[in-house]
Amino acid sequence: MTAATGYAPNRTLPLRVEIVRQFKRRRTIVAFGLLLALPWILVIAFQFGPQSNAQGQSALRISDLATASGLNFAAFALSVSASFLLVVAVALFCGDTVSSEANWSSLRYLLAAPVPRDRLLRQKLIVALGYSAAAVICLPLMALLAGTLAFGWDDIQVPGTGETIPAFDVLPRFGIVIAYALVSQLVVAAVAFLVSTMTDSPLGAVGGAVGLWIVCTILQAVEALGVLREFLPTFWNNAWLDALAPELDWSGMAKGASISITYAAILIAVAFRRFRRKDVVS
């Protein structure tokens, strides 16, 4: 009898358990609350803010088109949040999943339960990515709902050219946008997760991922780097705009997804490798 009766490594830490463990946390509730409230805050801001009087004057920026229809509003909400808010949300879910356990000292009891280390990381990664995905998805969906209620259901007006695309043609495109936003956040998730396995300070993990993101964004502005910038994880962050162009252009999103997956695969592998051999002292 090498193990206690009823013990099987592949039954430890079921996803259901990990979801419940994370869900009741205040930071989870607050993050989702914020993401779900943001569209409504924006709607209120657009409703009560000073009306732009320059009717039609260069009214082709994505922010000027936001009130044109629910779809436009959702695109706007996504564009303003993709660059930072969603990054923070994803970094939050993936960054403190392991480090917070270390911080509470509950990590050692899970490992001694024993939950095999690879399995612990796998289950935690799946749940963290699941929460991240839910965050990325719930924002545009709520924005679509809020925008449609506030500004009506109409065809989407493309920023820049002002052309319109029928609403039902653009719904699948919207799916692409969300899917791409998910893929492009993989890097943040992977960085946060890697740092999470290395530290017992949740703030450090989240801050580390966000900090790296900021550094990349700054580096991206250095034109002297030339083509090297294309390989920064943040470079293709806005490529989803192409999915809303009159002609769907995959090239940018393909490059962005490629880079994102590359970084994520390696970083996550490093996280597993390190954690396997790590001395858990927290």
Partner: protein, 901 residues
């Protein structure tokens, strides 16, 4: 830390090596040289030219390239290009043309008698250089490149000197007279005839409309045609003499002619003769050097029509010609400096070096807007190519119907206010990257004719034509332009800001005249839904217009606007870059390797270590020797005591009946200090073992290793015969409470316990929740969030969690910390009862009295080493002997750890 440092050092080393080894461009040095040339109609005028010669860096013989500067520039403006070109293996010469920079002489506008003769002598000079490759004696392999004024000298020299082997003239003129006095009206003839007439046939400049502003800049004193220099800094110049102020550095003859035409706004035959003498079009048929003509799409001084005329004339002589319409010109645009350089370099590589592997330059390339880059959101440019140059009439024609009534327009007295299309010199600065710049039509001065919204996109490439009828009297000066009208919101765009000036003579008494107007050649995409608007205006700021007021009626002679298109232009296919799919695949492979190679190698390592020597420490020398002694001592004592111990003799290694067996366990801190040093002991069933030791004795580290949290550096722990490794299944038989409780603070005590058990994946029935929770004794507090608990409550809950499932081996670290005396007593009973059923308990504690009352056996550690082990009673017995006091564990302990001063 050491590993991180090693990695950083390795990476830095690689980076520095790469930096050093990376091939850097060869260094090129310019050698300043004053070359005296003799020119003039009679070859009797000596001029000193300021030149710089860049020898090819590689050594050996190389082709030569002459780089000519633009109007107002000097050899210094070409320096960067020259260095770049020389690095590619050419002997490069730059020079200041006569009348510019530090060179002597006066500007003769690329006259065959002056500038051409100068350049011929520069070629003579190059032929004498030892580094320059020769085709024949005195005939170097030489190419000429340059923009604007420098482009014209390339064409002129190539026409007059057969030694020139390739030229790349950029944004230059074919006919200077036509450039300054354009007239886009073709003689009254049917539209179809007009299309087939040879556009290379120059219109008559005597009837042309004076391009006043450009001409003023061109002939102005010291003004460069480089648009930035108009706004930028100017070099301080000495005060001018009256003659200099009047004519600058122009030849007096040219100066006089300009002053005359600028006053009247009319070309004189002498002026036309003079300008034609400096125009490549008159001699282009003689050019035998392969020519790459690069012309700007944003150029109201030398529009695309000039390159067209040159191309036709040169190609007529059987010489290879390629054309490129790039995003640039005298009115600004992007400039595409790198692309132009690449094209020029490719052209020279093919025709000077004879390098067939050089990139091919297509017969016709057009720069087009390629939308925005998905990453930078910057504009990107595409370069569609065609295998043959179709001319300004395109490969096909789309007729667009225009409509509009006859409209009356006036020429205001004095010609002001004038419509604005392009502001010469600074148009490029005002205009955005992609708009036509500022274009304004004055009310009452223009007639507009508009098409219906387009149902399909229309790509105009070339020069559209339209027939108009003008009613009125005398000679009408009109400006015809074609707008792209998107909607009522955005202002209409004038592609490239170009207008076609026309002069229509209405015969006496006829009352009206028809004219076919060739609109400016552009490459422009009219999107679906946009309309084409033809505007005929009486004024334009850039041109001289009559000062007398006049009224005309303008109407379309034919509603069809013939729009040329080039269907053969196709962008080079841009497939997905190889790395897009290769990189993630490689990353997945790398990830796989990372995971596969990292698979718990420590287990095998530890096994070997344990097999070789149970006491192998990571340290060397003294500590290792010390530890060996310690282990030996400990083992000796253990062995000595085992015989008379009341526990059964244990089995061999791997005995499933031995709850815990530790052998040769060693663990070093990161700084190399040993936390646990060759520790060996075993625990039998039913024992309550006290683990004693002062702070830093290594108790907690040992317990962490029992839980698989820390990997030993050497030695082994076996629980029920199974070696402990991270996540080893046998750990499921171990309940542990080490270094304080660990709960999710936001969950209640009950949820914490339930979720912990759920995380073990074992059946809920095995948990024995009730018994465990009874031990915790939390009562109603069990349903509060853990963060509200006191230290003692958490402690009890954690012990309860450790007892979940009633593990066969229970490891508790300082379990009585934070408990009050009744609870301590209760805990004592719980532990004793727990061990009574054949289970085993290991307790570490500082409270010696507590251990004395609770434990059956004891292990004493000091600085990571085993000091003593055995039943409590035995230990106390030996102590009595040694100091005669009552048997107190405290004394024994202090004695053992050598602290009993």
């Amino acid at each position: 830390m050491k590993r991180v440092a090693a990695w950083t050092a390795a990476l830095a080393l690689i980076a520095v090596t790469t930096w050093l080894v990376w091939p850097s461009a060869p260094e090129v040095r310019g050698q300043d040289q004053t070359i005296t040339v003799v020119d003039g109609p009679a070859d009797d005028e000596k001029v000193e030219l300021d030149t710089t010669y860049f020898a090819p860096p590689g050594g050996g013989k190389a082709p030569a390239v002459l780089l000519a500067h633009g109007f107002g520039g000097s050899k210094r403006s070409m320096r960067d290009q020259a260095v770049r070109l020389a690095q590619q293996g050419y002997a490069v010469m730059t020079w200041s043309a006569r009348g510019f920079g530090r060179s002597g002489g006066q500007i003769a506008l690329n006259s065959p008698d002056y500038e051409v003769k100068d350049v011929k002598q520069l070629i003579d000079w190059l032929a004498r250089r030892p580094e320059v490759q020769l085709d024949a004696s005195g005939d170097p392999r030489v190419g000429i490149a340059g923009g604007s004024y420098g482009g014209a000298i390339a064409l002129m020299t190539a026409a007059y000197d057969r030694r020139v082997d390739a030229i790349v003239p950029q944004i230059t003129w074919s006919d200077l007279a036509d450039a300054l006095f354009p007239n886009a009206a073709q003689p009254a003839a049917p539209a179809t005839a007009a299309r087939t007439s040879d556009p290379a046939e120059p219109s008559d400049p005597v009837g042309g409309v004076f391009k006043r502003m450009w001409a003023g800049i061109f002939f102005g004193q010291g003004v460069s045609l480089d648009p930035t220099s108009l706004l930028g800094r100017r070099e301080a110049a000495p005060p001018l003499t009256p003659e200099q102020a009047r004519c600058g550095r122009f030849l007096p003859a040219i100066c006089a002619v300009y002053q005359q035409v600028a006053e009247t706004g009319r070309a004189t035959p002498e002026a036309v003769e003079l300008l034609r003498k400096s125009s490549p079009i008159t001699v282009a048929g003689q050019i035998k050097a392969p020519t790459l003509l690069i012309q700007g799409q944003r150029d109201s001084l030398f529009p695309l029509g000039h390159a067209d005329a040159n191309a036709r004339a040169i190609a007529a002589g059987g010489t290879p010609v390629s054309l490129a319409w790039f995003d640039g010109g005298h009115d600004g645009g992007n400039g595409e400096a790198d692309w132009l350089f690449d094209q020029s370099a490719a052209w020279f590589a093919r025709y000077l070096k004879g390098d067939d592997s050089a990139p091919r330059v297509s017969a016709f390339t057009v720069t087009r807007d390629g939308g925005r880059d998905p990453g930078t959101r910057q504009r990107i440019r595409l370069h569609p190519e065609a295998g043959a140059y179709p001319g300004l009439a395109g490969t096909g024609t789309t007729d667009v119907r225009l409509s509009g009534p006859a409209q009356n327009i006036v020429n205001p007295p004095g010609g002001a206010p004038a419509a604005i299309s392009t502001v010469p010199g600074i148009g490029g600065l005002l205009a955005g990257q992609n708009t036509g710049g500022v274009s304004l039509d004055m009310p009452g001065q223009s007639a507009a004719f508009e098409s219906a919204p387009l149902t399909a996109p229309l790509q105009l490439t070339g020069s559209p034509t339209v027939r108009i009828r003008v009613s009125g009297e005398g000679e009408a000066t009109l400006f015809v332009k074609l707008y792209d009208v998107a909607d009522s919101i955005q202002p209409p765009a004038l592609p490239a800001g170009l207008v076609a000036p026309v002069r229509v003579s209405i015969p006496e008494g006829a009352g009206s005249a028809e004219a076919t107007v060739a609109l400016p050649a552009v490459d422009h995409n009219f999107a679906v839904g946009h309309r084409l608007r033809l505007v005929v205006a009486t004024t334009d700021m850039g041109f001289a217009t009559p000062v007398q007021p006049a009224a005309y009626q303008v109407e379309l002679a034919s509603p069809a606007l013939a729009v040329p298109t080039v269907g053969t232009l196709a962008a080079a296919p841009t497939g997905i870059a190889w790395w897009v799919w290769a990189m993630p695949l490689a990353a997945v492979v790398v990830a796989g390797v990372l995971l596969a190679t990292g698979r718990t190698p420590s287990r095998s390592r530890r096994r070997t270590a344990a097999a070789v020597t149970p006491d192998a420490g990571p340290g060397d020398g003294a500590p290792a020797a010390e530890s060996r002694e310690a282990v030996a001592a400990a083992n000796g004592r253990t062995a000595g005591q085992k015989g008379d111990a009341d526990v059964p003799l244990g089995g061999q290694e791997g005995d499933a009946d031995v709850p815990l067996e530790i052998s040769g366990l060693t663990k070093a801190y990161r700084n190399g200090e040993l936390a646990v040093d060759g520790l060996s002991f075993r625990v039998e069933r039913g024992q309550v073992l006290g683990l004693l030791g002062p702070n830093g004795a290594g108790k907690t580290t040992t317990m962490r290793m029992m839980m698989g949290l820390i990997q030993p550096d050497a030695g082994e722990i076996r629980i029920f015969g199974e070696p402990v490794a991270p996540g080893a299944p046998v750990l499921s038989r171990l309940g542990s409470f080490v270094e304080g409780p660990g709960f999710l603070p936001h969950l209640s005590g009950r949820d914490n316990i339930a979720l912990y058990w759920a995380a073990t994946g074992r059946p809920a029935a095995d948990a024995h929740f009730e018994e465990a929770l009874e031990i915790a004794g939390l009562g109603k507090a069990l349903d509060r969030a853990v963060r509200t608990y006191s230290q003692g409550m958490r402690q009890r809950l954690a012990i309860a969690q450790a007892m979940l499932g009633l593990p066969d081996l229970l490891v508790l670290d300082e379990p009585t910390n934070g408990l009050d005396p009744p609870q301590i007593r209760e805990m004592r009973e719980v532990l004793k009862r727990y061990a009574r059923d054949g289970r085993t308990v290991i307790v570490s504690s500082h409270m010696l009295a507590e251990v004395e009352q609770t434990c059956s056996h004891v292990v004493v550690m000091r600085r990571g080493r085993l000091v003593s082990t055995g039943p409590v009673s035995q230990l106390l017995g030996s102590a009595t002997r040694s100091n005669g006091h009552g048997p107190r564990l405290e004394d024994v302990f202090l004695d053992l750890i050598g602290d009993n001063a």
